[in-house]
Homo-oligomer: 374 residues x 2
């Protein structure tokens, strides 16, 4: 009942404390016979090493922490999957915490991860205009995901401006003449998408652009209402192309238009903008771009490992007495405090001609299976 400790194992195997510890951490330091004896004792007693004690004594935990703002958005899941596979590839574990749209909870989890001696932390911060880097002087590597900031630190984000440009150019390449952008610009990422779209709009003065600054980014229902309304506009005035700022919105817009009796994309074409695989999994062939969450997670972990490696190198130099070399390394780091990685979006043109919107179910496309996202 009482916890089985390394002591108990040592006693049972007739060896010392240190030997049991070695059996766990440096098995090759032991003679095969001893190792076997210790292992037998461990399994007989059902020994489970106390991770708290290990970390306290040993320093670092071979895991990363990932704090997500929510669990039920495809983008965050892609991040989690990308981060997880990259972490595993390097022998690290990944623990995920859900801040559940709550700033306080986000802070709590961040502090928890820091206190737990994690090897590093990834955060996809809660969106909001007032974003500031969480955490002060950091005892451990941190990488911010899906966020832009002028602050020093490590950041990995989608190039939202490029995303906007991409999708707007796509619309124009399909001969759209009246384009309506749908969605409230409620956070910097969305603003950047609009910025990209606007750039393109300026290049094509004969195309009519309009922005409906309404509809929450994550509510398909808002899209539905907007879609119904747009469908109700007179034929010559209503848009022939709707650019929704998010795929979830786009899904709703499509449904709204269709329920109003118009065809998509026959009467009005619709495109999304953030490559959310879950939004089109049901069979709506939505053109969109940048399903880049996976890549963001991957790069985030790479950044963490980069920081870890650098710290390790610095420490090694210092130990070798090469103090000036170490100093120059850390000075270099100080001069170059910002590390940004923009993940380039790409067009997922599942609606390569306007007509194609009608039927090209993703389930039918080999090599692209929805199951992965369900």
């Amino acid at each position: 009942m009482a916890h089985v400790t390394i002591q108990d194992v040592a006693r049972k195997a007739h060896v010392s404390l240190g030997t049991v510890s070695n059996a766990i951490n440096h098995p090759n330091k032991l003679r095969p016979g001893t190792l076997a004896r210790v292992r037998d004792a461990m399994s007989e007693l059902g020994f489970l090493p106390n991770q708290s004690a290990r970390m306290l004594a040993g320093g670092r935990n071979a895991s990363f922490g990932l704090v997500l703002p929510r669990l039920d958005h495809g983008f965050s899941l892609q991040i989690a999957n990308g981060a997880h596979s990259e972490a595993r590839r390097h022998g690290y574990g990944l623990l995920i915490a859900n801040a559940d749209e709550d700033l306080v909870l986000e802070q709590d989890y961040l502090r928890y991860f820091m206190g737990t001696q994690m090897s590093g932390i990834l955060v996809q911060p809660l969106a909001g205009k007032d974003w500031a880097p969480r955490a002060g002087a950091l005892p451990i590597p941190v990488v911010y995901l899906d966020t832009h900031s002028k602050q020093p630190g490590y950041f990995v984000a989608v190039d939202n401006v490029a995303q906007g440009r991409l999708i707007a150019e796509h619309a124009i390449s399909l001969q759209a003449r009246r384009i309506t952008v749908v969605g409230r610009a409620e956070d910097p990422n969305l603003e950047r998408r609009i910025e990209g779209i606007r750039e393109i709009a300026l290049k094509y003065p004969d195309v009519v652009f309009r922005h409906l600054d309404e509809g929450a980014w994550n509510l398909a229902r808002d899209g539905y209402m907007i879609g119904s309304r747009l469908a109700g506009e007179p034929a010559g005035e209503r848009p022939d192309f709707v650019l929704a700022l998010t795929d979830v919105l786009a899904t709703g817009v499509i449904a709204g238009i269709q329920d109003a009796g118009l065809s998509v994309p026959g009467d009005i074409a619709v495109a999304g903008c953030d490559g959310n695989p879950l939004a089109w999994s049901g069979g709506v062939p939505l053109t969109t771009c940048a399903p880049a969450g996976y890549e963001i997670g991957r790069r985030g972990v790479q950044f963490l490992i980069e920081q870890i490696e650098r710290a390790k190198a610095e420490k090694t130099l210092t130990e070798q007495g090469d103090v000036e070399a170490a100093a120059s390394m850390s000075q270099e780091a100080d001069e170059n405090p910002c590390h940004r990685s923009l993940v380039r979006p790409f067009l997922l043109a599942r609606q390569s001609t306007v007509q194609a919107n009608v039927r090209s179910n993703p389930a039918a496309q080999p090599g692209l299976d929805l199951g992965t996202y369900l």
Copy 2:
């Protein structure tokens, strides 16, 4: 650079170690002035309590661990969300680990959580015929989710048999005469669904039932191929109703049938069976049942808390010298080692008449917003 410890804070605030500890854990034991002094010192030094040390010294961590087999299935996410909200309600945190379909990794995370002094662990074990309870004699509460087993322990699962019955009866109530069940029976849960369907089949001998034991549960593409094939069968022989064992499969089947030129549900109706919200989010109004993942997560946490409370009560009794009372409690527990909770599925009849399958976009239904699942 070097970690700021409780010592440094104590020195800075001119108090003792114990006082700083109290400031963290029992703030009401301190005089307001002292508390303020300590808190100032903490924030000035940027103190972060070392969680490893806390747990080592103090015993338990106020968090639960959740080990999931995968992150990209809606059901697991529902579980995570249900567990998270219930845990928060009781003041606990939740850390999620993704076993990523890997038995070894699942074990690793379980061991990790046990070693981390988590207050309890939830596991949705990897599916497979050879399932056996992970973990031996457990030092901490564990609850198994979405699994059936004869072993002693705590289990929360969907009543898969009822699920099968429900969906089959639904089909028959819609006048189906030739029902084809689609999906490989690759794990006990799926077998149970078939069992439920079979029960109903026996009750209606004039209805033709057929089971195609093919199609992986999580591959829409498999469903697509099966759907195309079924659509190719002669009009009098092909099914008028397809029951897919999972919603993901059903999604594919629908696409396959439609691409073959038949209408759903006009020519062939299709229903899923596991209430995966992500599978119908795109606008395919799929009838299905039991979106019960959330409820499973919730009950799982409740079971954990129940175990914690019981242990606490037992300990209190023992301390009060009431040894015989404590003994009787634990004896009672020994005699009643199995705790099962079956979550009852319910029909999500989004296709309440066959015709309704055509158009009833969920985005249009108030009170049911997809955004939540995207």
